[in-house]
């Protein structure tokens, strides 16, 4: 599991790559702590290379979302796969996040 954080003045982009399962969730949560701490801006969770997510991963997403809501920021989930989209749908997460698709060339 790789987490890459890219910060600009207004936007923090988090690239997630691999499988976000229970085993790595604590690690990922720790990696995202700085993002949660400064949640008052636009946070983009780039899921283009995210293969899998479990409930522990979903909880991290929710934590980020709550922090942003509290700090007046905004969370955008970008380019999730069909499979993960189904999980989002199942769990009502689709309603909690602003979903974004990069147009395919």
């Amino acid at each position: 599991m790789d987490v890459r954080i890219n910060e600009t003045e207004n936007v923090t982009t988090v690239e997630l790559e691999g499988r976000l399962d229970t085993a790595v969730s604590q690690e990922v949560a720790a990696a995202l702590q700085p993002v949660i701490d400064k949640a008052g801006k636009i946070i983009v969770l780039d899921c283009r290379d995210l293969d899998y997510i479990s409930s522990s991963g979903l909880r991290i997403f929710l934590t980020v979302r709550k922090a942003a809501a509290a700090a007046g920021g905004k969370v955008i989930v970008r380019d999730i796969s069909t499979e993960i989209r189904q999980v989002f749908m199942m769990t009502g997460f689709l309603n909690l996040f602003e979903m974004q698709e990069t147009p395919k060339d």
Binding site: D21, Y52, L62, K66, E83, M90, T91, L96
Partner: protein, 723 residues
Amino acid sequence: MMAKLDKGKRQAARQGLLIVVVALLTVQVTSLLQFAYSKYTVTQEANRRAEGQLEATELHILGVMDQVETAVRNAVWSVQQQLQRPDSLAAITRRMVENNPVVCGSSVALTGRNIAPYSHEENGRVVTSTLATEEYDYQHQEWFLKPLELGKGYWSEPYYDEGGGNMLMTTYSVPVLNKKGHPAAVLTADVSLDWLTELVGRVQVYPDAFSMVVSQSGQIMVCPVETLVMKKNIHELASSMEEAEQFHQLNSSLLSGQPGNATYRYEGKVHRIFFDSVPRTGWSMSISIPQDEIYADMKRMGWVVLLLQLLGLGLLGLVLYVTVRNQRKLNQVSLSKSRIEGELQVASSIQMSMVPKIFPPYPERSEVDMFAAMDPAKEVGGDFYDFFTRNERLFFCIGDVSGKGVPASLLMAVTRSLFRTVSAHERSPQRIVTTINESMAEMNENNMFVTLFCGVLDLRSGHLRYCNAGHNPPVLVTPKGNRTLPMVANLPVGVMQEMVFSEQEEDLVPGTGIFLYTDGLTEAENHAKELFGEDRMMEILRADISSRQLIGDMTAAVHGFAAGAEQSDDLTMLYIRFMNNQLAGETERHLILHNDIQQIPQLASFVEAVAEIAHLDVTLTMSLNLALEEAVSNVIMYAYPPGSDGLVDVEAVVRNDELEFIVSDNGVAFDPTAAPEADVSLDVDERPIGGLGIFLVKNIMDRVSYTRSDDGKNILSMTKILS
């Protein structure tokens, strides 16, 4: 080894020597026999020639004498008639000389009265004179007295007529009786012996042979040394010689009147002398031949034969030497050849033991029926096949290493090992082939390569994944007909690194067979150099016979086609029949984890394996993975007290139309199904962080149930209905 060779060398030398000695003895014994026989025949021949010559000469002499004796006898009557008229006697002598060419003088000498008319030839004319002179006194001459004494004809000793014509002469004289029967006169005829010298001189049986005629007293009449003629007799001659004794003995034999032969030494040479007497005259005639001359031809021939024999023996020795040397080399060559053959035999059996040879390989499995045959062109070959099962999958491959013989067999062993090693943890044929290629291309210094077909057949579903690296496309044998597997053109493995190989897939319906082969089958040649070809192969392939029978039929067909023509390439065949889809039954998979969150990723491959068996798509696989992870992570996090060790048992059961996960543990009793579920309709502010796990499990799975077993286990069963 060296001692052995030396021994062989000595033995060979001994044998060679023995052969030469035996040949030498044989040749020598035959030569000696031949020589003895030749000597005998040559001696016989010399005797025959000498005796023949003596006889012929004798006959000639006798002929002349007969002539003279007859003429004289005829004249006797005339003399008797004219005894009373002495004047007419001269005429008789004249006629005698005129009418008989051999007679060169004749006289009639009367007894009592001194009357002896004599006619003789002189310069071609006949001259008549008288012998009755004071000086001569014929009545006391031997030729006159002897016939009267004997009462019959008498040949005189030869004499040299110095007065008449320097001739060797002899005289034949007969007594003439008067009417009262008393001797009244002697009639003579002088005969020149010049013809005798000439006759005997002609006798040349051998170039250096010589003849002699001697009178009864031993006077030499004819002899090659003219100074001896009528000057010496042989007794004097013998006395003047060295080794006189042998010549005296010889003289007695010569004068004995008996025919015979003898040898004598003269001037260091051995001579052979043949002799005989001339009847009536008392003369003896002899022929002397140097012994060397008799055997000269034979000796010359003897030398030639000896020379030829030596040459022949030398040649024989040379031939033997060369043969022995070649034989030794041949022995060494065949020694090392047999060692190599022995090693190849071992290599061959090692190689054959590398490929599975026991058929059926999985007698307990009804879903697969397979058979294989491998027939290297030489002791070892570059073809190979292999297969094994792992997790309900049949991994198999067939390959053909470029080239033949030992180098190919080594690479074959390497490739086969790589296949086993790589496919132990890979289940994608594409990744197996790629990994093998990387390893082989890296160490391929001899630019050898391998065509390789690698397949993984799911024995539950009949799903076939395969990757073909330049090998002949296998044939799918179905009840509806045969077709070759679709092939992407990949290069053989070992050519270069970093090559990309494509994987393909195919679903097999039960009853379908996969026929894999190497080009040794389609390119088998008969004596007419025709190829067996794919058409003939396709005709044999039938879906309704067992794998053993199909391989047997194919082997018989290709052997029948080749009809004894030499096999030029390795021939390998592997036939796999997928029999029935075992989804109708039940398949179980187990996984045991520790209560460590880091073991969670193992679930991914476990679910993937189960999904393969159940033939599930990617989305469903991920959902099932998610549900199972939620259930398992729940146990890991809450069933056991923190810091204590515990196990989580995960079981998957694939049935015909459903998939059941059973998660069990020995931890504290806990029913996750009873836990509060997340309300997914709440807004972000109201949503609690927890409760999502069991919600996902219940949503993904169709049935979820919890039981606490009597032996203190939490058992969570989750079932997904498969459409």
